[in-house]
Symmetry: C2
Subunit: 392 residues, 2 copies
Amino acid sequence: MHTADPLHVRLLRLLRDEGALSRAELADRLEMPRPRLLTELERLVSLGFVAEAGKAASRGGRRSTLVELSPHLRFAAVDLGASSIDVEVVNGRLEPVAAYAESADIRSGPKAILQRVSELLHKARVDGAYDRLDAVGIGVPGPVSFRDGVPVSPPIMPGWDRFPVRELLTREHGCPAVVDNDVNIMAIGERHGGVAHSVDDFLFVKIGTGIGCGIYLSGDVYRGTDGCAGDIGHIQVDPHGPICSCGNAGCLEALFSGAALAKDATAAARTGASPALAERLAANGTVTALDVAAGAVEGDVTCIQLIREGGRRVGSVLAGLVSFTNPSMIVIGGGLAQLGHVLLAEIRSVVYRRSLPLATGNLPVVLSELGSRAGVAGAAVLASDLAFGEAT
Amino acid sequence: MHTADPLHVRLLRLLRDEGALSRAELADRLEMPRPRLLTELERLVSLGFVAEAGKAASRGGRRSTLVELSPHLRFAAVDLGASSIDVEVVNGRLEPVAAYAESADIRSGPKAILQRVSELLHKARVDGAYDRLDAVGIGVPGPVSFRDGVPVSPPIMPGWDRFPVRELLTREHGCPAVVDNDVNIMAIGERHGGVAHSVDDFLFVKIGTGIGCGIYLSGDVYRGTDGCAGDIGHIQVDPHGPICSCGNAGCLEALFSGAALAKDATAAARTGASPALAERLAANGTVTALDVAAGAVEGDVTCIQLIREGGRRVGSVLAGLVSFTNPSMIVIGGGLAQLGHVLLAEIRSVVYRRSLPLATGNLPVVLSELGSRAGVAGAAVLASDLAFGEAT
């Protein structure tokens, strides 16, 4: 890939994030002499990235011409979960023009899953969502070599190790593609259009089937040496705890995650400790983390205890990470974020009690704003950044 | 402070780290046209940063002129510990031309301690180490606002909170000054001239009177939102552990640090569990962490156990941080690093067993190379970088 022109990237991001701007405003915002701006704009128009959008309201003198991102720009954003596929096609301003969500088992392997992604994108094209894609962004539930565009030893994705995801998508759609970890794209989404908007240093904690952490430091996602930074699900919280899928004892994820909570909830339903859960088990033959959330809202004591216990575990790990990274914000997202304020209150309480006062003096611990859309939103940001970097 | 010219900084760093270079080599290494280089060099000579150093060996044609950093450049590097002052005056290549080390209690307060630093520097001047200083770098044992050049709520430094350390040094020595945390300067020293030479992502773990961590990410020190990133001494490792100086229970530092180890060693000497320590207690009236190290070398089982136990605690915290940051290297330094390979072996064993295999596949866990000089070495690097940034 050739080196991106930072100026083009800044200009295109400005139009993506703020919409149509006049040439005068652009020259001001980019601190660029007018003649140079006009040359650059001409170039971006000829490349199909930018289009004219009529005249701006008068600022006294001649009315300046408005420019905006080309209405034909299209990015595909894909969020693969352990058991789900989310696909969106978005325009240059990252507004969805088509969206699909369905269940799928990531263990079906890369060929079957990526085949299904292609079918959904094909459907979007047939439905008129796009003629051609300018870039594809995809998140997968495991460690990724961001540089190589491949998953690396992903524990819950048999058959995906080093599978050339980026290469396949690039070939299939005739456009650049970018592959990242699912938690990273959620963090990116939340920073671009969510609660962490323009916060430079924050932790995005995903509590879902598993537990992971997206790390923003100094305004950039931090991915680590091998692309597996943020793997906090396997931090030990209890040496005498249950054996985790990774083989070690007492990992955070083995004690509190979608899977662990469902197990604890089923036990509480069977023993009758929780009337709310027993009722649901009888009605549905199974209980899930969402049943615990519903039970807690109804005031079921066992459900509230299960959530508080989990919040305490997560909080103890986060307290250490707050002492270590001294972030500006912690965002809690993922499926179990639906456990809501009981969970949040417990996490906050442990973090504030256990971390250095200096680090928690101004530390908001908040719920994700974008919820289940955080992943695709972030994948769209990555795809557009990639395309903008190629506009040189 | 005005904006630094990145080219000047690169040029001066090159001369600092590699010594005299010919103009031809400099032009090559900086990928800069010869005429531009000559203009820049002239400017740096007139500012007193660069000097000519004779002719290079011939490369076939005309012999190129060698340039080097001015032999008159002098930086002061200061490392304040909980109970020590280390001061060096170094030349442009960061080689010591004067060095002083003495005991001092940081709790004496900023005026007394900085007064003593000034006296030592005055002595160096009288001894002919320098005529004037080009910059001062100082590390202090507590959180620092790097931007403001002041300590911020440092737990073990009464009277230092927000004391204008940078301002005082600048005024006193008539040159720019930079203030950082003691563990950060050790990490900087180790990266510049030690075992982490040019490693971009690593953790420097200082185990001394207290425990702290310097964090290098993507080639830069990461200091966190409030300057207190790396405060791992207060991560909880045992909810039922002893009460720490911070008021919480079972902090890493309360279980294993210079102070904690001396306490455990004294107990083992009194009960007679350790003959080696009992002997030392009888002889000296006190036992320290170094006595434990000596006892371990002699094969005293209790001493070895104390060190292994400590290594296990440190390892359990580091295992989590490895999963979280996925670094390329871990460096163990500080006074207790003298416990040596027993400590290292135990830390390694826990980290390798507990962290994600992908993150530990190529993860060296090694002892500091610079030892007690790491701090001043890093302070000298910071001081020179600051001066180079002002050479514009």
